[in-house]
């Protein structure tokens, strides 16, 4: 089979991720380059351009070298895409690529959390998403971090350094901000506050994972996968809830899982298209 170079662009609510892969069939797929560009209140369309450009640079390629570009997430922002895949489909694919034994995926983004149970072919067997209320998501952690003046990268280590957690009521993301202010005013150390927030988010996620009857190992994907404080709390919440043991794992490229998945599906799709002619009608079409 000929080598195929494909790209995936994952447009989230917090950042755009772009990944470029080269595949010769699933087994020999290599990642050529990735890039994550935070939106930071910029136009997603322009950030997508930028992220793609940077990923190409990282891969040492130009846009001409890429045979197929697929979007995922908020795909409408990607004007230059060739196709689109749904978010959970791509995260599942990305997760199995990063950790071939993955049986469940928890995608933790800026405004949503979703969990999936997958099979060895990365097919999604069951899934759940958090609902309309944004209590306890990445954006929430980001706001709190900004409010407290902590760098996002320091959030995880800070949480790990705490010896106890300050319980946070965790109903409304906005009111919780006030809770946090109250805590600071009471002189509670930041590390314990952050740990408390992690604990409450982790418990929600553990609940979601149990609801879909997740099995291990669970791969964390999305931006929050980089938060070691959260992943440790998730593992602990799962240990303590009395359910069957589940391992939790993250990969340095976890944040790119959606983009990788989209790139991988692109190769699959392209081969199908090449094999079947233009009328495949096979994968979901862009919406």
């Amino acid at each position: 089979m000929a080598d195929l170079v494909t790209a995936g662009i994952d447009v989230g609510t917090g950042a755009v991720k772009a990944a470029i892969v080269c595949s010769t069939g699933v087994a020999k797929t290599t990642v050529l380059g990735t890039h994550r560009e935070r939106l930071l209140r910029r136009d997603p369309g322009r950030v997508a351009e930028l992220a793609y450009e940077r990923a190409c640079q990282a891969a040492g390629l130009t846009r001409k070298d890429v045979a197929y570009v697929a979007s995922t997430g908020d795909g409408d922002a990607v004007a230059f895409r060739d196709g689109h895949f749904y978010g959970m489909t791509t995260h599942a694919r990305g997760a199995t690529f990063l950790l071939p034994g993955a049986r469940s995926v928890a995608d933790l983004g800026a405004l949503h959390a979703r969990v999936m149970v997958i099979d060895e072919q990365s097919r999604v067997r069951a899934s759940r998403m958090t609902s309309q209320c944004a209590s306890g998501t990445g954006q929430f952690i980001e706001n709190i971090a900004r409010y407290l003046g902590i760098r996002l990268e320091d959030v995880g280590p800070l949480s790990r350094s705490a010896t106890r957690a300050e319980v946070c009521s965790g109903i409304c993301a906005v009111l919780a901000e006030t809770d946090v202010i109250n805590m600071v005013s009471r002189g509670i150390p930041l590390s314990e506050i952050i740990r408390g927030i992690h604990e409450s988010i982790a418990q929600r996620l553990a609940k979601l994972l149990r609801m879909v009857r997740a099995a291990g190992p669970v791969v964390l994907t999305g931006g929050l996968a980089a938060d070691v404080g959260l992943s440790a709390e998730i593992e602990r919440a799962l240990d303590e809830d009395g359910g069957p043991k589940i391992e939790v794992a993250a990969h340095p490229l976890s944040v790119q899982a959606g983009a990788l998945g989209a790139a991988l599906w692109s190769a699959h799709r392209l081969r199908r298209l090449q094999a079947r002619g233009p009328d495949a009608g096979y994968l979901s079409t862009p919406t």
Partner: protein, 456 residues
């Protein structure tokens, strides 16, 4: 439905049980450092009664007694007893779990099993408790039901709750459909429908599981005993018409209705409990003493309030404290009428036939009343008990109580000219209780009432 209370095991002493459950509630929600909780003498007595009962239940298997699970509102305890079985009240178990800070874990467990965060937390607490081994409030295991007596009275969730339990236990289930008093009264047709179901559905199933024929005379005797306890309870609740009131008819009231709304209806113990309670309250009244609150006898009655809606159980004492600190006494509450409402003169055994008496009782309980009827009742409490205000504690869990409470508030305001206060909590899910928030509202409300009183 939710119900009363004397904690069967240790009464949670703030500080002692303040050990945090896994992540529940706001930290400032726990009252701090009060050394000893003050209690009525009757409360100790009730505690002993409950402990004895749960032990009886734990040994039901050995003693061969059959067990019927059923609900508190309009409960058929005398019938269960007359059939020779023991009653278990999942709502009471749930609230007991909450008072012992266990409900948080149970609710979470049920949610993990797929139950939605939107639905009644009593159900989830019960399901969670079941999953955790069905350990009752005294630490002894509860027996599984031989019969689920689904007295469908005033709450839709009851039906789903027992359907779920039946799937779990695969035991007998008897449905008793109690029609709603939509037009503010009980018709002959409703009574007969309920009595017919008792005769054709409930009694045969009870007899089937116990293997014994029901003795109607025994039932009548039990009902007569209930009626005497009912008289004393009514006297106690009415004592709050005095100023100062010798009782708190909400926070204290939930204890007072404990025996009669649950397993003890119709027993001698129950009758004696209410005699003793009446004497205790009469003595306080003679001394012109206020109610005993967790922090001691209330020194000055600054506000007289009526409360609608059940309390929050996970932070019961903290919740009470907010009122206590402001000198607010609850002089009447609707929650102490969920098990049965005696205001219109209903007493057991007055009907021409024991089954009709049971039917009247089921049909009459508070949540089976229409909204306009509930408004009238609240307005009459505000007037008759000389209240300065009324507070609605709206529960996220409970559609039966909560839907329409905002409209009720406006209607009661219109009828009485007294403004209402509105707070929101939950029964046994600590995540929906915020001490700071509730305190803010109650304080603001009472400051407003004080301003109005000051001018008058």
């Amino acid at each position: 439905m939710k119900l009363p209370v004397a904690e069967a095991s240790a009464v949670p002493v703030p500080g002692e049980t303040a050990a945090r459950g896994a992540g529940g509630g706001m930290p400032e929600g726990r009252a701090q450092g009060s050394p000893r909780v003050q209690k009525d003498v009757s409360m100790e007595r009730q505690k002993a009664m409950l402990a004895g009962y749960f032990s009886e239940l734990a040994h039901a298997r050995e003693t061969g007694l059959k067990v019927a699970y059923t609900f508190v509102p309009g409960n058929l305890t005398e019938l269960i007893r007359a059939a020779g079985a023991l009653g278990v009240y999942p709502e009471v178990n749930a609230l007991q779990s909450a008072m012992r800070q266990k409900s948080d874990g149970y609710v979470r467990e049920a949610e993990r099993l797929g139950h939605n965060e939107d639905v009644c937390s009593y159900v989830k607490c019960d399901i969670g408790m079941l999953a955790a081994g069905n350990i009752g409030p005294t630490g002894e295991k509860l027996p599984p039901p031989d019969l689920l007596l689904l007295s469908y009275t005033g709450c839709f969730t009851f039906m789903k709750w027992f359907e779920l339990l039946q799937k779990e236990y695969g035991c007998e289930i008897a449905m008793l459909h109690v029609p709603y008093q939509a037009d503010g009264g009980i018709t002959e047709d409703m009574r007969r429908y309920v009595a017919a179901q008792l005769r054709d559905e409930v009694i045969p199933k009870l007899e089937k599981v116990t293997g014994k024929k029901l003795d109607l005379d025994e039932l009548s005797a039990l009902l007569a005993r209930s009626a005497r306890a009912e008289d004393d309870l009514v006297w106690v609740l009415d004592s709050a018409r005095n100023t100062p009131s010798p009782i708190d008819a909400y926070f204290g009231g939930v204890y007072y209705v404990g025996p009669i709304f649950t397993a003890f209806r119709g027993t001698l113990e129950c009758e004696e409990y209410y005699q003793a309670l009446r004497q205790e309250v009469a003595a306080r009244l003679d001394r012109r003493e206020g109610p005993i609150m967790p922090n001691g006898v209330l020194a000055e009655e600054r506000f007289r309030l009526v409360v609608e809606g059940p309390p929050n159980w996970t932070h019961f004492r903290d919740f009470w404290r907010i009122f206590y600190d402001e000198g607010a006494v609850v002089v009447a509450s609707t929650y102490t009428k969920v098990g049965g409402l005696y205001d219109d003169g209903f007493r057991h055994g007055r009907a021409e036939d024991p089954l009709l008496s049971l039917a009247d009782y089921c049909l009459g309980c508070y949540t089976n009343r229409s909204l306009p009827a509930r408004v009238d009742l609240l307005a009459s409490y505000v007037r008759d008990f000389h209240a300065d205000g009324f507070v609605i504690n709206s529960l996220k869990s409970c559609n039966s109580f909560s839907v329409g409470q905002l409209v009720m508030m406006r209607e009661v305001e219109k009828k009485t000219g007294v403004p209402g206060g509105f707070i929101e909590t939950d029964l046994v899910d600590p995540r929906y209780y915020s001490q700071a928030n509730i305190k803010n509202r109650i304080e603001s409300y009472l400051q407003m009432i004080a301003q109005r009183k000051g001018r008058a």
